[in-house]
């Protein structure tokens, strides 16, 4: 996967956390991954279509999800409830939407977010997507962005 496809998701994640959550993120080293269960308990996912197709997944642990929801909602939820999952979904929507805008020349469409909650949940990316893992760390906790995209081939 080309760097020009990955970099917008890196910058979008940092921008969303900076603007919406007033927190800076530090990116860790990128890695390739097979479809292993994500390290964190809550994942927001959005499908992408157009010149590239695939999926982007944003995963956070319970504490990070609660911290982020508290910042967005103005009050800390007592547990991983519908409000927290909605908050993770909206963060996912903003990250992927912002990256899509940076990739304007690729004419991408994105779907609505889906959020999964549960330890060891396993998500399969489309065949050939070879997801790249982009880890971040910040005051609210760790964020794991997984980008699995396939470029459309000429007919």
């Amino acid at each position: 996967m080309r760097a020009e496809l990955i970099n917008p998701f890196v910058s979008a994640t940092s921008e969303v956390f900076k603007l919406m959550l007033s927190t800076s993120l530090t990116r860790g080293p990128l890695s390739l991954t097979t479809d292993q269960p994500p390290a964190h308990e809550v994942s927001g996912m959005i499908g992408i279509s157009g010149s590239v197709r695939g999926m982007v997944m944003i995963s956070v642990d319970r504490t990070t999800a609660l911290n982020a929801a508290e910042k967005l909602l103005g009050a800390r939820p007592a547990e991983l409830n519908a409000d927290v999952l909605d908050a993770v979904g909206e963060l996912t929507n903003m990250i992927v939407g912002s990256a899509k805008a940076k990739l304007e020349a690729w004419n991408l469409s994105i779907g609505l977010p889906t959020v999964l909650c549960g330890e060891m949940h396993c998500v399969k990316f489309p065949p050939g997507a070879s997801p790249i893992v982009i880890p971040f760390d910040g005051d609210l906790g760790r964020v794991c962005v997984k980008v699995g995209l396939i470029e459309a081939t000429a007919a």
Binding site: D83, G89, N93, M94, G97, K100, A101, L112
Partner: protein, 121 residues
Amino acid sequence: MSKKVLVVDDSATMRKIITRGLNVAGLTDVVEAGDGCEALAAFQQHAFDLVVTDWNMPNKSGLDLTREIRALGSSVPVFMVTTEGERGRVLEAITAGITDYLVKPFSADALRDKLDKYATV
């Protein structure tokens, strides 16, 4: 009397953020809707002074909602808050009848600057 505002977004989180921003601006009479269909039904029941809407929603998009509001003959300000930041999309929204636009993500200051205009007009 506070102006009446319709806030439309399928994300409860975003509706809360927008509503909180409206309240800070002194706009406290807020009705929320989770999609364009719900919003259109509310719009036909109440006289709103402002509509704040997302673009991409299930059932009916914010863009289609805007077109239908304009088709009803209403000139109410419609302020779109969306991740759709590409220039072509902004032009599409303006053509549909959107009167103001804010791209997500946004800072609290950027939201306040936009909403303050409607509190004073």
